[in-house]
Subunit: 364 residues, 2 copies
């Protein structure tokens, strides 16, 4: 099937840049002693997770128990839930899954640690638990220093749990536009983390994994001598928001290439300078900005309503006839992927595969 024949809106993966992205990060990490554990919250797809592991990743991370289920049942043997799991129902699902694959989880609360311990002990498990540390994002996580030591000690003393390390992700640093400021944000995170690690070691609690980082900052964590595991997710696809980050030379862009697109059709041409696409809020997420047209210079996607995208044609001679199809680079890849049941994967102008978005809607 030719790409042109795919009906729209559709979620596309351009396999050539997608494969180069996987190889590029694997190559950057190989031989450094730092492990790669890509984040599946981006792609929610077991087929992609298995490709990342085939390229050298030690395992996968995700955010939800239901995502972990989709990955494990899709063949992924090692999953870190880089998030808290709270509530009896979810903890019961977590333990059922942990008896089938290597599952680890994060914690930032003593009562949650007690609940995990009781469930793990009942299930006859010794569940690896990482302490989530707040290294600057001000979201989840205990504060660095003594609070980490206290919670790590509690985990280590629990019959059903094993203290497995630290989750230290600085999410808000990922999209800091300026290269030096981005590096400085990770340096501040490292300055919070380093004495905490030393404190743990002095108290006989070695954090085996110090895990975190993302597509925007991985080079800084990797060279810090502190983090030993990277959780990059967006690098496989990239999005319009990440492409606004400036590199070391000051130019916006990335070593990774756009490989994820929303395919859309021009469904109305009411005026010479206005083209309406069939892809709006239900076909792409605009939380981090509007999509970009990948292949049409002089045209701008200026507004999304539920089922429509409004494109203004800025160059007089530009033609975008009714029925023509365009590729959009979504503003934010993760929530856009979560709108679709399938990826249509192509190479050149040929559709090569269709992969299910295994964990679409898996929010539990």
């Amino acid at each position: 099937m030719h790409l042109e024949e795919v009906d729209t809106p559709a979620l596309l993966i351009d396999l050539d840049p997608f494969e180069r992205n996987i190889a590029r990060l694997a190559g950057a990490v190989a031989g450094t002693g730092v492990r790669l554990r890509p984040h599946a919250k981006t792609h929610k797809c077991a087929a992609i997770a298995l490709r990342q592991m085939a390229a050298g990743a030690v395992g996968i991370c995700c955010q939800k128990v239901s995502e972990a289920e989709a990955l494990v049942y899709g063949g992924v043997p090692d999953v870190l839930i880089s998030n808290q799991v709270v509530g009896a129902r979810k903890i019961a699902r977590l333990m059922a899954l942990a008896s089938q694959a290597r599952i680890a989880v994060c914690a930032d609360d003593a009562s949650n640690v007690a609940a995990l311990d009781a469930a793990a002990a009942t299930a006859g498990l010794r569940l690896p638990v990482l302490v989530e540390v707040n290294v600057g994002m001000e979201r989840c996580g205990v504060e660095p220093g003594d609070p980490v030591l206290a919670l790590a000690g509690l985990i280590a003393a629990s019959r059903g749990l094993h203290f497995a390390g630290l989750q230290a992700y600085h999410g808000s640093a990922q999209h800091v536009r300026d290269y030096a400021e981005r590096r400085a944000a990770v340096a501040r995170a490292a300055a919070l983390l380093r004495p905490t690690v030393e404190l743990l070691r002095r108290n006989g609690l070695n954090p085996e994994s110090i895990t975190g980082s993302g597509t925007g900052t991985y080079a800084f964590e990797a060279s810090s001598g502190l983090w030993n595991e990277l959780q990059c997710g967006s690098y496989v696809f990239m999005d319009a928001d990440y492409l606004k980050n400036r590199q070391e030379d000051g130019a916006p862009g990335s070593a990774f290439e756009s490989s994820l697109f929303v395919y859309a059709t021009v469904m109305s041409r009411p005026t010479r300078d206005r083209a309406i696409l069939d892809a709006g809020l239900k076909a792409l997420s605009v939380d981090s900005g509007l999509p970009r047209l990948a292949d049409v210079a002089g045209a701008e996607y200026v507004g999304a309503s539920d089922e429509h995208g409004k494109v203004m044609l800025r160059e007089p001679g530009l033609d975008l006839p009714l029925g023509s199809k365009v590729r959009l680079i979504p503003g934010h890849c993760d929530p856009t992927v979560n709108l679709y049941d399938w990826y249509v994967c192509y190479r050149g102008d040929r559709v090569e595969a269709v992969w299910p978005v295994t964990a679409r809607g898996a929010v539990l």
Copy 2:
């Protein structure tokens, strides 16, 4: 099952206000000679569409062929696709559906009319087609006056098509905050539409349906003497954005009540004034603003990341312990519903039903 036992995030319908909303709009329209054709782009659910029809709606509208399929196969006998259907594959699906139920569609382009005509003639159908008129939204639709006459004439002269009226929806008027300005926006739309209708009638092309309107403005269209069909959608659920509209007395709010909620759990309490919920960008759409906490005064949802919602507790004594559950009023109901496979419907504190979001992800 008690509501409290429902795991989160979950999409909830509170059945009492939901049923009152359906009855309230049906009551407002009954006896006025204006028909009600609720928009299913809001709820994407055949079970809800059938309830709206049982309350007096003449049919349902939706935006996509794949939505119409989900509704028809769910038992809805009369569907207007209030949108253009462009491309051979979609038109083929449209004709297959039109042989099984009463289906109408909109058009704003002569070449699209020709494509619809050819397909309808081949299928042995006479498909009702409405001309979409741009009455102020500047999205799809031909300009009022002669362009409408020309396209209506083309439809009426087509072997496979029937000129069924005008689609005249002023979407951007729905969320104008001030009551008088909202009324004025519809008055301007009516001033564009009225001479167009007269022009059509003078030329022997009576528009049987003049259809449009929405939850924010329906009273104005209904009393205009021009529109004879209303397409309100959000009224069944309401959302935080619609609740910002001011009523005639200047106060924000609506005659309709919030009946749609995202149920979320407090999954981290890292500080006294910060609570993290398990519902972020994959559990609710923030395109029209952040959600509101329905039941907790003094707490504000201040930021959404992919899987987390950050809530600041503004009142010192406020308690929102780890594991507690809260109801969120989504910023925008339509794209939020599109994230879920199921509605959990409750009355009081008891779960009464689970309805599938029949057309979730139906973007084709």
